[in-house]
Amino acid sequence: MIRIAAVGDVHLGPEAQGRLRPALEHLPEHADVLLLAGDLTRHGTPEEARVVATEFRDVGVPVLAVLGNHDHHGDAVPEVTEALSEGGIQVLEGDGVVLPVDGHRLGVAGVKGFGGGFEGRCASAFGEPEMKAFVGHTIEIAGKLQSALGSLSCDIRVALMHYSPVPDTLHGEPLEIYPFLGAYQLGEAVDATGTHLAVHGHAHAGCERGVTPGGVRVRNVAQPVIRSAFTVYCVEA
């Protein structure tokens, strides 16, 4: 059994420093790895990223993360990534990592993801350049996710992203904003690569459980959804 802890949307800043720390003290008893599904900060500043780094430093298991839209808000992605790395958090964006766990190889690939919507109700790369850029961003990221997942040589393959690959885990959000919450192309990448589990955040008012059209389990681990410091999924290798 590989035990995967995950949480997204912790939205930390100096005012919330230490909020998760008491629950994290016992993390190695619960899990072999911790995945952070983006929106680690509120405004995407290096100062907030240092708060995140301190919060997850030395938790006793490897910590892998993707960034979310909030982490991009301050236009300081390199500095934010650097600050997180200094806390031992490995930030994934179109790449992956394979960790040895209990005699097995756990592969995790990550991207931020983006919006656009879902099958039959989604944006198309047509018309104004702004629209083409919007959809183009999604397509580019989904392509990176697919190649990162595909290149992992591992026993259990996990996709980590901020935006949702399916509409299932958005239930509870207003239907009208689904196109800003995820994109079906992310689910396609998951389904094309023999992935075992997809983890995302971003949909604070959504629900935890869903499944891709290809039958891969999807979990929305946004902290307001899981209502705890993290949640744990055990996957049989």
């Binding site: 005012e15 629950a23 909030h70 808000h73 389990r217 902290q223 899981i226 949640t231 744990v232 055990c234």
Partner: protein, 88 residues
């Protein structure tokens, strides 16, 4: 229908408050539901700290000083999780 509090449609007032809560750096909250009924504003959702919750009041109240703001927002729970989910 116009809002008795301000003579404006409540939908526009709610939309303005919602955008202010997202775009004002003091709040930067995109997931707050804003409902305007007459002279009252109701805020729902979840934020990461008590301070974030209080900032919502400040920003909404500044945006619409004549309305009464009711803050029904939750502060997120950060305790240890229950039993793990086993995926087979």
């Amino acid at each position: 229908m116009l809002n008795p509090g301000s003579g404006e449609a409540p939908e526009y007032i709610a939309a303005r408050i919602r955008r202010a809560l997202a775009e004002d750096p003091r709040t930067a909250e995109l997931g707050i539901q804003v409902i305007v009924k007459g002279a009252h504003v109701y805020l729902c959702g979840t934020v990461s700290s008590q301070q974030c919750k209080e900032e919502l009041n400040r920003v909404a109240q500044e945006r619409e000083p004549t309305l009464t703001v009711h803050n029904d927002v939750d502060v997120v729970e950060a305790g240890e999780p229950g039993a793990p989910e086993v995926l087979r």
